[in-house]
Amino acid sequence: MLWILSGAALASGSYPGVVAQELTVDSPSCAVCHDGATTFGTVTTPFGASLLDAGLEASNEDSLIAALATLESEGTDSDGDGVGDIDELLDGTDPNGTGSEVEAPAYGCVGSTRPGGPLAGATLLAMLAGVLLRRRG
């Protein structure tokens, strides 16, 4: 019953999605937090450091959500450009001070799997299996 795990806490790889979900923005790039390789121990950008100061932990989505809330309530401005980090993320600008406005990257089509949920894909595959079984019969 391994699939029970899929709904539980995730590794830090889920953080861009958490930011996107919490702030209703597209997933930010890795470079907004990571300096160098996107691996553990490289969260050293100004914004990443602010998140750590606000209690961010690896592989703890709740800590990320709490840290984002802290930055918002305190108006943290990691790059000192006069615009708070959270506002910069909402505006699609870089909270680390590049000053450029870029559209955040996004993967896949935005859509809802809710009506059929993930069941929609399973249904398609089950139909395929049904076709195969009928052919066999």
Partner: protein, 391 residues
Amino acid sequence: MLKRLTALAVMLLGLLLTPSDAQAYAWSVNHGYTTCASCHADPSGGGLVTEYGRAQGEIFIRTPWEERGSEWEPGKAADFAFGAVDLPEWLITGATIRGGAARLDTPSTDPSVFPIVMQADLRAQVTVGKVRAYGSLGALPTGSAEEARVLRNDTVNLYSREHWLGVDVTGDLVVRAGRMALPYGNRILEHNAWARTSTRTDINADQQDGINAHYGKGDWRAEVMGIAGNLQLSPAGYRERGYSGLVEYSIGPKLVVGASSLLTVAELDIQTLDQRTRQAHGLQVRSSPVHGLAILGEGHLLVDSSNGSAPSLGSTGWIQADYEIFQGLHVAAAGEWLQQEVGTSLGGWGSATWFFAPKTDLRVDYIHRQNATSSGRTPSHMVLGQLHFSL
């Protein structure tokens, strides 16, 4: 009939609700497999295995608990769904689940243990004459394997790592178009090794769309891909265009040497948010100097240029020794490095994998890394346990 269909639907649903894995056992050179096309639908290996590959998995990968006389054959354990479903000749399919738990320690965080689900893919290849259509589909929680995501909402990713159309032009030449793993270096299972992540050539989610030609004849194998970018990534400015390719030569039945090259250009790099040109050029080797031992090594020069500035040089590499204590039980040690402008990161891996049952293995890894940052190296320790099951 209805019961069987219901059972299969439930099984597929379970798979879709779980993340999955790719098989890519480069240590198969220990068993005399210097190429991958005989066992995998992808001629460079990884992903869906052929009927022949399934049989070999039973014959030389898992621990044999039964007596194997001269008449022994793999039987239904090697078949899709353990023979519950007969597949037509034009269809090969399979599914994998890989999940487990990890414990991570870094200086900036408290030690934490967390579950990991890596894959839940259903894959299939349909062959009509010389034409092949290959696709994979899976489901993961939002935030995982994002690069392969095709549909996103608040709770679940639907993702497809690979989907391509191919033509077997001749028995030696396969031309494919679509999304597939890049031909570069050794196709190892350790997808977050720096040799893979720094070149963006891992088999987890770094696949790209493009046109690929694979040629294999005799002791030679070559593959080149024109990269059109990850079409699942938008806006288009983030997509990398360029090429990736390799050439390999089997010096003997247990020694393969090769060279790889990659160049990509992106208007807006996904990590640096700059216009960026990435190059990687390197050598790889797979060998089995003594029975039971496989050595996998590769080293690559990294050339990086942003916004037209002078290129910066770096390097990365991976060397792994895998020893099969008895059939099905592997222990491995690996070292890696990543030299970038920010500094040189060093890492060491210790692994044990036991293929203890048909299509099932248990793996434990310890990974220690010294990660270079602009303020010095920071250590990290990870213990990872995972169970892998395929159909």
